[in-house]
């Protein structure tokens, strides 16, 4: 599917709705909204538009000085970029867009290990009035579903910026990969790669990073979307290499709500998704210990990323995708600003 027509449709609809009665754009960023759209393209578009309209300062502000094209104004755009001449002639609000001078390569790494294939939220709930189950028959909304939605949104934004975007789906090794490109076919490739499934294997983070770094020559921004249920020493090794190569990293840790509050009461045995075996315990008896353990892990994870100057942001499968997207945009802008001045 081509991104441009969809974008046009969406933009016009958003504009018309803004004329009449401004809807809450954040609604579009809820997973159920995304699920209802049925395709990655639409999901990504809606996410991005929602994020942009919800922000007071457009991400397009001042990143380039060379005019590129006009586009319809959307609430939140900086009024400084309004083309008053066009407005005087046509009575329509158009925003001037500028050619980006510095390209930023984005590589989205999506974890497809076994632990990502977990989610307690129902697919129907996540999809609102949409499908009751996924195309492969699942009735639950997994962390991988959430990760692919975010990855698609990030790629969409990036491609719309004219930046190059690539995608790596990895687990114990790289399962699917789309090379960085800003060509029109890249989006289709990314969407195709995101349609892969998880594997019953643990995450081998260093190996995936090694393979990715081998294919990146210029500076890039790596966005890692994972639950990070892996050995932090291995993560540290991988991050050190990334840092050494001068790349920037922003990590999004996706967790299911049951993983964060562990509110199980039924004493059924627990079975791991990455071959950890079965554990027969009373969940209430272990809740405090479990929460301690996962909190400690997250704290260490956060500390680890910060030690390299990277960001890690945690969000859940029940959360909307606005915050991570905004975080990405902010990070991107900071990075561009730094490279421009530096």
């Amino acid at each position: 599917m081509d991104a441009a027509p969809a974008e046009q449709r969406s933009t016009s609809s958003a504009a018309s709705s803004a004329d009449a009665k401004q809807p809450d754009a954040s609604l579009y960023l809820h997973p159920q909204t995304l699920a209802r759209l049925g395709s990655f393209e639409l999901r990504a578009k809606m996410i991005v538009e929602g994020v942009m309209s919800g922000m007071h300062r457009s991400p397009y502000r001042g990143v380039s000085v060379e005019f590129a094209q006009h586009r319809a104004y959307s609430p939140g755009d900086d009024l400084r970029h309004l083309d008053w001449k066009v407005y005087a002639k046509t009575d329509k609000l158009q925003v001037k867009q500028y050619q980006q001078e510095t390209n930023l390569d984005l590589v989205v790494l999506v974890d497809s290990s076994g632990s990502m294939n977990y989610g307690t939220r129902s697919f129907e709930s996540a999809s609102g009035e949409g499908a009751k189950q996924s195309l492969d028959g699942r009735t639950n909304w997994t962390k991988f579903d959430h990760a692919t939605a975010l990855a698609a949104a990030l790629s969409y934004v990036t491609l719309r910026q004219g930046d190059r975007s690539g995608l790596v789906v990895f687990a114990d090794e790289i399962r699917a990969m789309v090379g960085r490109s800003s060509s029109r076919g890249t989006w289709r490739q990314i969407v195709g790669a995101l349609s892969t499934e998880t594997v019953d294997a643990p995450t081998d983070f260093p190996r995936a990073i090694d393979q990715v770094l081998g294919s990146i020559t210029n500076r890039a921004m790596l966005v890692v979307i994972s639950d990070f249920f892996t050995d932090l020493d291995a993560v540290r090794t991988a991050l050190a290499r990334v840092k050494h190569r001068g790349h920037d990293v922003i990590a999004f840790q996706i967790l299911d709500r049951s993983e964060t509050d562990f509110a199980f009461a039924d004493a059924a045995p627990f079975e791991g998704l990455e071959g950890e075996g079965t554990l027969r315990v009373d969940p209430r008896a272990l809740r405090a210990g479990y929460l301690d353990a996962i909190s400690e892990h997250n704290r260490k994870l956060d500390k680890l990323f910060r030690s390299f100057g990277f960001d890690v942001q945690q969000f859940g499968t029940h959360d909307w995708l606005g915050p991570p997207l905004a975080a990405y945009v902010a990070r991107r802008n900071a990075l561009l600003k730094r490279s421009k001045h530096g």
Partner: protein, 756 residues
């Protein structure tokens, strides 16, 4: 330890498997639940594994313990010494005291026997036929009646027998009852596997003084501690009672013709020890009854009344009443004399002992055989009097008027049975002429209750007849063969004691004055012994007349040691002789009446009854009597003794036992001591006391428990409750239902960390 409900205990203990099964099933049947963050769960588990396993084990143990305790409590365990097998059948021997004091009426109108029956019923209810429990029943009212022995599993039938048990007029025969109980217990033990039977003897009595006595020697009850003893708590206070202790006609044979007998009847009234401190009065009636099969009084006209007074401290008070003129009723045959307490200001809780019976026999005259050599020719004065003349004169002082006694001359050679059967008494004045066969017939005459009076012959010479007499009556008689002539004539003693039972009791007032006038010149020496009781003695203490009671004889022999002859003594010529002979005959024939008296509690043995008796009959009831067959006599009243051809052999009077009427209480320690005395061989007795007075019979459920053991169900239930609470708390703690839910989710932790 044993259990009252072993079946429930078994079911409860089996239920201990339930938590274990649940534990196992919960482990196996649950479908695994996928979870992504297993590494953290495993990490937490590794840290807490030991503690959790320990908690789980403790929880499982607590749950098992909870059910086990509940099962034990339901099983109602009994702890204590002498415990027997828990699951074995129980044998309960109920010894029901239905003696006279069980008639004591309580405030609500029921009797102590009713209360004992209620307790017995409760004890029976606590038994379980399904388990093989058995009950034996022994009625202690004497003679003790082992109604159900050996113990029977037909508890309903035992219950009916208890309901139908009637009070007796006898004392409780505890030795027999306990012996029967012991036999029942031993029988039960041998019927079962060794040690599988628990036996409890339950004594259902008020233990009043009329029921028990220290003299009772009880057989050992507990053998090797296998038998436990329960008993109703002894009555606490005297119930108060008055009764006819004795009714005794002065003359049991009454002459209805001229020379009628003394018609007086002596009645003794008894009262309780508890009420003996104060003065009291009672009205006593005397009533004549026909000894028919129905208790028809002969009419109020023949009732006499007298008032009897108790002085403070007196236990008994006596009164003498006169019978109405008997010749207006009948001239011969038997009549019953019934004395009754008509009213009294004493508390009188037992009415069954307010009457007492005596029998009198009516005769137109008494025929007395005078055995002497016949003398021919005319006697002109007392100088010509021979001994037989003196005796005839004494028996019939006025020949022209009948005095009620008719002397009959008998030759010593003609003492045959038909002649003797016509006589009421025999006076033998020539014993030296009586042959061995005649002595044997005279002995039979005495055994039948008729009096025999013997005086030595006046002729000088060695006396060998005492040997023949001694042989015939099977009694050692130390009678000297040679005549003793004191250097000086001996006078009869004037100061001696005359017992009430002496045939001369009626002469008590005149005897000292009359006896002092008699001098004795010659006599035969006679040594006193157990069977020889002096009636008259000289101043030197030598017996002049003695009463001999041959073994198993109803009658007595009066033996003079001096001949009825002026050369031997002045006895025959002095005024003493007439009343002496009259009294010896009239009182002596009293023992020969056909009526026999027995006390309730005796058995109708062949020795008690007239010789030819084969059956005793009372209304529609009859019981056979034979050697070895001795029907028990438990209630007061009269029976007719009949022979094989249903000919009347006389009356059998059964009187209530006056000793059984005492309602004074015995405290628990005394009763225990009484039982302990019986148990000396096996050590002190632990008695489980049941249902104190005023306490409902329902609290006797544990009567069949052994010794002092009490059910531990309530403490066990309390313990189970405590364990249940501990399990609840530990389960909450172990499942972290408290602290687990309060643990902060990691998002909140992250926010808190960020704020910090």
């Amino acid at each position: 330890m044993s259990f009252l409900n072993p079946i429930l205990l078994g079911a409860g203990l089996a239920a201990v498997a339930i938590p274990i099964l649940i534990h196992i099933l919960m482990r196996r049947r649950r479908k695994p639940m996928k979870f992504a963050a297993m590494r953290f769960l495993i990490e937490a588990y590794k840290k807490q594994r030991r503690r959790m396993q320990l908690e789980q084990l403790i929880l499982l143990a607590l749950r098992c313990l909870l059910i086990a305790l509940a099962a034990l409590a339901i099983g109602r365990p009994l702890l204590g010494e002498g415990a027997l097998g828990g699951a074995g059948p129980r044998t309960v021997v109920l010894v029901l005291d239905n003696s006279l004091t069980s008639r004591v009426a309580t405030a609500d109108g029921s009797t102590e026997l009713d209360r004992s029956k209620a307790v017995a019923a409760t004890v029976l209810d606590s038994l379980d036929v399904g388990r093989g429990d058995r009950a034996a029943l022994i009625l202690a009212g004497g003679p003790a009646d082992p109604v159900v022995t050996p113990a029977s599993t037909d508890l309903a039938a035992v219950g009916r027998l208890i309901t139908n048990a009637q009070p007796t007029d006898s004392r409780a025969n505890w030795p027999e009852a306990i012996a029967a109980a012991t036999a029942a217990v031993e029988g039960a033990t041998t019927q079962d596997d060794a040690g599988a039977t628990r036996a409890t003897v339950v004594l259902l009595s008020g233990f009043r003084s009329g029921s028990i006595t220290d003299a009772d020697s009880l057989a050992a009850l507990a053998q090797d501690g296998a038998v436990s003893l329960s008993a109703i708590t002894p009555a606490g206070a005297a119930a108060g009672n008055a009764w006819i202790q004795l009714v005794e006609p002065v003359r049991r044979v009454q002459i209805t013709g001229p020379g009628a007998s003394v018609r007086q009847v002596r009645v003794v009234v008894g009262r309780d020890e508890g009420s003996s401190a104060a003065a009291a009065t009672a009205t006593v009636t005397l009533r004549l009854r026909e000894p028919g099969e129905t208790e028809t009084p002969t009419g109020d006209a023949r009732v006499t009344r007298a008032r009897v007074s108790f002085e403070p401290g007196d236990r008994v008070a006596a009164v003498t009443l006169a019978l109405p003129r008997l010749d207006e009723i009948r001239r011969d045959g038997a009549l019953l004399v019934e004395a009754a307490v008509e009213s009294t200001d004493l508390q009188n809780t037992i009415t069954a002992d307010d009457t007492q019976l005596a029998a009198i026999e009516l005769k137109r005259e008494l025929r007395v055989g005078v055995v002497a050599r016949a003398r021919f020719g005319r006697r002109v004065g007392v100088n010509d009097f021979e001994p037989a003349d003196w005796v005839r004169a004494a028996l019939r002082p006025t020949p022209e008027l009948s005095a009620g006694i008719e002397p009959v001359d008998l030759d010593p050679a003609s003492l045959d049975a038909p002649r003797l059967a016509q006589l009421d008494a025999v006076v033998v004045l020539r014993p030296d002429l009586v042959n061995a066969g005649s002595w044997a017939r005279l002995a039979t005459f005495v055994r039948a209750g008729k009096p025999l009076i013997i005086a030595p012959p006046a002729a000088k010479g060695a006396n060998t007849w005492p040997d023949a007499l001694a042989e015939a009556i099977d009694t050692d008689l130390a009678v000297a063969r040679d005549i003793t002539e004191p250097p000086a004539p001996e006078r009869l003693a004037t100061e001696f004691t005359i017992e009430d039972s002496s045939p001369l009791a009626l002469l008590q007032g005149e005897l000292p004055a009359l006896a002092g006038a008699v001098r004795v010149f010659q006599r035969l020496d006679l040594d006193s012994s157990e069977s020889v009781r002096p009636l008259l003695v000289t101043e030197t203490g030598s017996p002049i007349a003695a009463q001999i009671t041959p073994p198993s004889s109803r009658g007595t022999i009066t033996l003079f040691t001096t001949a009825i002859d002026p050369t031997w003594s002045e006895l025959a010529a002095k005024p003493l002789f007439v009343p002496l002979m009259q009294e010896l005959v009239r009182s002596g024939v009293g023992a020969s009446t056909s009526a026999r008296a027995a006390t309730a509690g005796d058995r109708a043995s062949t020795t008690l009854l007239p010789p030819r008796t084969t059956e005793i009959v009372r209304g529609q009831r009859s019981q056979r009597v034979a050697p070895g067959v001795t029907p028990p006599l438990r209630t007061a009243g009269w029976w007719r003794a009949v022979d094989e051809e249903s000919r009347d052999q006389g009356l059998l009077l059964v009187r209530h036992d006056p000793q059984a009427s005492e309602t004074a209480p015995n405290d628990r320690d005394l009763v225990t001591a009484w039982l302990t005395g019986a148990e000396a061989q096996t050590g002190p007795v632990a008695v489980r006391w049941l249902a104190a007075e005023g306490e409902p019979a329902e609290n006797t459920q544990a009567a069949v428990d052994t010794n002092d053991r009490t059910p531990w169900d309530m403490p066990l239930l309390a313990l189970a409750l405590a364990v249940g609470l501990a399990e609840l708390i530990l389960a909450r703690y172990a499942s972290h239902a408290l602290k687990g839910t309060s643990a902060t989710p990691i998002q909140d932790r992250a926010r808190e960390a960020a704020r910090a």
